[in-house]
Amino acid sequence: MLNQLTFSELTARIVQREISARAVLQACLDRLTQVDGQIHAFISHDAADARAQADRLDAEVARGVGLDRPLLGMVIGLKDVFAVQDQPLHCGSKILGNFISPYDATVVTKLKAAGAVVFGRLNMDEFAMGSSTETSAFGLTRNPWDLTRIPGGSSGGSAAAVAAGEVIAALGSDTGGSIRQPAAFCGCVGLKPTYGRVSRYGLVAFASSLDQVGPFTRNVQDAATLLKVISGPDPRDATSVDQPVPDYLQALDGDLQGLRIGLPREFQIPGLDAEVKSAVDQAIQQLQSLGARVEEISLPHADYAAATYYIIAPAEASANLARFDGIRYGMRAEGNDPLELYCNTRGQGFGAEVKRRIILGTYVLSSGYYDAYYLRAQKVRTLIRQDFLQAFERVDAIVTPTTPTAAFKIGEKSSDPLQMYLSDAFTISCNLAGICGISVPCGFTRSPRLPIGLQLLGKPFGEATLLKIAHAYEQSTSWHKVRPPLAAGGGADGTGDGRSC
């Protein structure tokens, strides 16, 4: 069964020519045909292009070329936010029209160089604004564990496609939890790297001081492999940081003796679901039994993170999304003069959530309100960051639930934006502080059976420690091996022939 293997086990089989890159891709395409009608993780996909990539890799393997590539033949899905040359890019929005990317994002160049088959446009909240993938202009994505529920967001398509086995792994972007939250809701591993760890060149900007690119995988080892491939400084992104990229796989030694893990008392909020709390408490006991020392810590400004975020992120978005004006690319509405053309194009092209945030961002930056909102939020951001840096003088990592509840119902929060915003309570502060975070599966609710995520937060550029803890925990549990009922198949879905990807 391909879906039980890690990247290194799968690439070894491709190198040994026990299986071809083409066969691995075909397993994914078969799976997509079987399940995507139900979950709609993909906005679109180009099977012919993916086959050509796979065939090229197989020809190289036959010639003995590039056999040591870490992602050789791995089918990696992309959130519809990354530029892939000659492929469409919509960002989950109508406003990009029939846009075709003229170049590759740096992470795409790196995936291709590492031997990956870069595949598909995965659904997302419009311009990554949302926590449920319901704001996509291309329809909603359903959670593979329960088709009446959302997969999380904004990278909901990426999480659902990995969980359902339509791709082997995927990339997403995380501005306030958009990788970790859907990973938790769909039962996969999702990692948000430290700000500056991964290049943002070719990633459509939402909030430039918060956005980071990161992996969705089925296990922690694959997350380590994928992070190493995409990390590192890039002359095309001046905010990428020139820090050495460690061999994250080497950090996965299972040894947690002496590691100190902090439990923030501010995260014991009233809205925390009892089953989520109980799963996280058990995970903490498991970490202790593996040798980690867990102690209570305090992040005194944690309660202000959501309000700070909903000033800073919309402010940056209102500036970044000014480029979508109907002049140089994307859709264009009628207008008697350029001003009318801009207003009509943006009024017709953007969905409600994007309009809400652009207007909010414009307001908090406008003359007379800048100091009261934006500047104040930037100052509170300093306090939030200081809380974390002080905590990290005492502990090596921080543990929390990834989300206050498991996946919610379709439509449950879509009419109340504020309730939707508060579902990100545990993930938002990580982006404001610029630190790194990972979500790993840590159990299920009873009825319905839905995945629960454990979040670990780490020091700036402390991904190796996070991966080490997450891996030791994962290897001592079996949560990550459980596949959604959809993916377990049944009837004529073909999993019996071992081709499920």
Binding site: S209, Y304, T308, G330, C343, A352, R356, V380, T382, G434
Partner: protein, 95 residues
């Protein structure tokens, strides 16, 4: 820092977003709630605090000033809604 004087029509115009009367009503009410929630930040004493614009402080990031290949003209115009004679055409600005 009051959300009460928030004029959705005026701010939407600043943002160059045309709204229908229905949208003005819904978005205006929702943004009112969000602004009330944000008011919450007033409780924090920030008098002695420096703002953070970026989590990783980096100033004056330099690279060698060398000419690199850029997007070909044709590729830059490929996604244009109304390309004319190698340019982006727009409605007339001056009569």
């Amino acid at each position: 820092m009051a959300g009460t004087d928030f004029d959705v029509k005026y701010v939407a115009h600043l943002a160059r977003v045309a709204l229908t009367p229905e949208e003005e009503k819904t978005l205006g009410a929702q943004l009112g709630h969000i602004l009330n929630f944000i008011e919450h930040l007033k409780a924090v004493d920030v008098s002695q605090v420096q703002p953070t614009a970026h989590a990783v402080p980096a100033v004056n990031v330099m690279r060698p000033d060398v000419v690199q290949p850029s997007l070909p003209h044709e590729a830059a115009l490929h996604n244009a809604p109304w390309p004319v004679a190698g340019l982006f055409a727009v409605p007339k600005i001056i009569e």
